[in-house]
């Protein structure tokens, strides 16, 4: 389903490219990205030729992640903008290095086709003094989105039919996940979690300097049955947990490090006692008990919708049953 969304976005992008020949060319407002202020409207940036349909202007490229972050089943439309005269640089399997002037745009939508509603768009702007994260909330008419530094709550129904109070994060909450060593950084566009084809296209078009080593390692989430269980589970934990559970980030004090590259079993939670879990421990003694997902704090917290217990703490209201199933199986197949 997500895949078809990406194809649709690509097709729309193509249509958008055609349409610009008939109308005056549209350009991104580089001053909005690089300046000091917080633009009030999403339209101020000029990222889209058709905002409501999410058709990007030239130099704004749609992309997807192999394994995405779970956000209550939202369809996520991701775009990256490259400023004129700059080139993205490959940096191994890690984050693509995007020079000052770049922007990442992610729109969260619920519903299909005619009933699709855009809820919020989050932008990451690379300014001279670092990345800035800002949330924009879509209006009822679906014509534009307005800056909402304090975030918001929106009542909606998830694709699974759960009625929830969806949380649009506030500006500080952006940093809770995007903060690393006291700076704001992108999380998603790491070469290891990007499609090799997409990266090759970016290189061929001159947007990216070269093909990164270690690209395309994380499995496609919807095709995870064809990947090893270990790869699927570790990819899931890397994408959904490791932005906080890693050194230098929000949950560093827990000592739990769920990054893809982490190989120390204790750092990954195996046989690791909780530090500040409180009631989040659910009566269990260790983050991961090999062979026993029912005795592991990790899965206990993933399976809870309750604030104070639920993990991740922000960015979702519902339990990701698919992710939970993979992590449960992964723990279940570990040798005690």
């Amino acid at each position: 389903m997500r895949h078809s969304g990406v194809l649709a976005a690509a097709a729309l992008a193509f249509a958008g490219a055609l349409s610009v020949q008939a109308t005056p060319p549209q350009y991104v407002n580089d001053e909005a990205i690089a300046g000091e202020g917080m633009p009030r409207l999403l339209s101020d940036y000029g990222f889209f030729a058709d905002l409501g349909e999410q058709v990007p202007v030239p130099h704004v490229y749609p992309y997807r992640l192999n394994t995405p972050l779970y956000s209550d089943g939202a369809d996520k439309l991701r775009f990256v903008y490259r400023a004129p005269g700059t080139q993205f640089r490959a940096d191994g399997e890690g984050l693509i290095d995007m020079p000052v002037g770049a922007a990442l745009i992610k729109t969260f939508a619920f519903g299909e086709g005619e009933s699709r509603r855009l809820i919020e768009t989050r932008v990451l702007l690379h300014r001279a003094d670092g990345w800035v994260a800002l949330p924009y909330l879509w209006n009822e008419e679906q014509t534009d989105a307005q800056l909402a530094v304090a975030g918001a709550r929106i009542d909606l129904t998830t694709p699974k039919g759960e009625a929830i109070s969806y949380r649009v994060p506030n500006k500080n909450q952006c940093k809770e996940c995007h903060g690393l060593d006291d700076a704001v950084v992108p999380i998603g566009p790491k070469a290891r979690n990007l499609s090799g084809d997409w990266l090759a296209q970016m290189v061929a078009a001159g947007h990216l300097d070269r093909m990164p080593q270690g690209a395309d390692q994380l499995p496609l989430w919807e095709a995870r049955e064809g990947a090893s269980l270990n790869a699927a589970a570790r990819a899931y934990l890397d994408v959904n947990c490791a932005h906080c559970h890693r050194p230098g980030s929000t949950a560093s004090n827990s000592g739990l490090d769920l990054r893809w590259e982490q190989e120390d079993p204790h750092a990954l939670g195996i046989g690791k006692r909780p530090v500040a879990a409180g009631r989040g421990a659910g009566g269990h003694l260790f983050d991961i008990v090999p062979g026993s997902p029912d005795k592991s704090i990790l899965t206990y917290r993933m399976a809870s919708p309750e604030p104070g217990v639920a993990m991740p703490e922000i960015g979702k209201e519902t339990v990701d049953e698919d992710g939970l199933e993979v992590v449960r199986r992964w723990i279940g197949e570990m040798t005690p």
């Binding site: 530094v149 304090a150 975030g151 918001a152 709550r153 109070s165 949380r167 506030n170 500006k171 500080n172 909450q173 940093k175 809770e176 903060g179 006291d182 050194p247 929000t250 560093s252 004090n253 000592g255 204790h266 690791k272 006692r273 909780p274 530090v275 500040a276 879990a277 409180g278 009631r279 989040g280 421990a281 659910g282 009566g283 269990h284 003694l285 704090i297 309750e306 604030p307 104070g308 703490e313 922000i314 209201e317």
Partner: protein, 396 residues
């Protein structure tokens, strides 16, 4: 002369000249208005929370340096998180030189106020209360500074935390004083931290009053240089209500002051009464661990003059009946497991388990009267406590 004074005042002020005050009132839209003020504040600004009850649905956060958040008193301004739907704490602070003072948080779903990597923070006259009293589904920590250098906690009051009321973790340069920790599992906890001064507090009706310890496997290790002095540690007799799995779930009901796996700790001039397991307990870490950086033993712990009103009269210990019988109906006030190094002033009544190896359980215990050396020389107090500069922020 006047000009000179003005220049001096300018130099003395660390804040921008145009520091502003933003006033927030309770009522409709308080969540968004308050959070917006916290986000849009500039360094030097003060956010004033007018008196009243703020019904909040989500955690608040502050990420701007040098901001003061001031309420109208810990019973006047109440941030009510009873209806909280998201976030892991009531209020998260991630910037430096922040002062929070004179307001309360009630019923946060997770922790109360957490400050992480927030250097030189002052908590003054903050109240965090879980209003239903002890309950295992209450949040873990009330006041929760972690990974910070420079922490001053003064005049706070925490009730009902299912882990620690006042918890300072992985930090350096700490003072916790003039505060009340009541009916939490642990009243005050200093964990994996250095240079901490815990003085003039009241710890009562907790499971354990004041705990100082180190845990393995954390990013910051090597806790020590801690003074626990002039505290009233009374009637810590609430049954442990921590969710199982947490380290404090192992704290025995009736522990007054506990020192575990730490280096250079002074316990003196405290008043200890009604702590039925052990008014003072000095022990090694009991669990297996693999962290090579970790030392499980208590080292150079000094028990100075304290006022003990009785000892362990109802200990939650294996073989309690036999122990009580052996010691004449009540255990002496100071319990040591026999591991590491402890000194105590002359006349300190205590007993030792006389263990010889850490992490091997109590099987090898050979309980007997405490027999340790007296302290040699003065305890080195240099560098202990919060930076003096933080005091100035308590004015007003």
């Amino acid at each position: 002369m006047i000009r000179l004074t003005f220049a001096a005042a300018l130099l003395a002020s660390a804040s921008p000249l145009l520091a502003e005050t933003h006033t927030v009132s309770p009522g409709e839209g308080a969540q968004a208005r308050l959070q917006e003020a916290l986000i849009l504040a500039l360094p030097g600004d003060e956010i004033v929370l007018e008196a009243g009850r703020y019904a909040l649905t989500d955690g608040l956060s502050l990420d701007v340096d040098n901001v003061t958040v001031r309420g109208a008193g810990m019973d006047g301004t109440v941030l009510d998180f009873t209806g909280q739907q998201g976030a892991g704490e009531g209020f998260l602070i991630t910037s430096d030189n922040v002062t929070v003072r004179d307001f309360a948080l009630e019923n946060p779903k997770g922790d109360g106020i957490k400050s992480k990597g927030a250097d030189n923070i002052v908590y003054h006259r903050i109240r965090v209360t879980w209003t239903r009293g002890p309950h295992e589904e209450n949040g873990a920590y009330g006041i929760y500074p972690v990974e910070s250098t420079g922490v001053l906690v003064d005049g706070v009051k925490v009730t009902g935390a299912s882990d620690a009321g006042i918890y300072v973790g992985q930090s350096n340069g700490i003072t916790v004083r003039n505060s009340i920790a009541e009916a939490n599992v642990a009243g005050i906890e200093i964990e994996n931290s250095r240079n901490a001064l815990v003085e003039h507090n009241v710890a009562t009706r907790n499971t354990g009053g004041i705990l100082v310890f180190d845990l393995p496997g954390l990013p910051v290790m090597g806790g020590g240089n801690v003074i626990v002095a002039n505290n009233l540690v009374v009637a810590n007799d609430t049954p442990n209500f921590a969710p199982a799995g947490n380290i404090v779930a192992g704290v025995r009901r009736g522990t007054g002051i506990m020192v575990m796996a730490n280096d250079k700790v002074l316990v003196e001039n405290n008043i200890l009464s009604g702590n039925p397991t052990a008014p003072v307990m000095v022990i090694a870490y009991t669990q297996p661990f693999e962290d090579e950086r970790y030392n499980p033993l208590p080292r150079e712990v000094t028990i100075g003059e304290n006022t003990y009103d009785g000892g362990g009269y109802d200990p939650q210990l294996d073989g309690a009946e036999m122990l009580l019988a052996a010691f004449g109906g009540e255990l002496p006030p100071v319990l040591w497991d026999g591991l590491g190094s402890v000194a105590a002033v002359e006349g300190t009544a205590g007993w030792s388990l006389n263990l010889t190896e850490a992490g091997k359980g109590l099987g090898g215990a050979q309980p007997g009267p405490l027999s340790v050396a007296e302290p040699t020389g003065e305890f080195d107090r240099s560098g202990i406590g919060a930076p003096a500069a933080l005091e100035a922020r308590l004015a007003g």
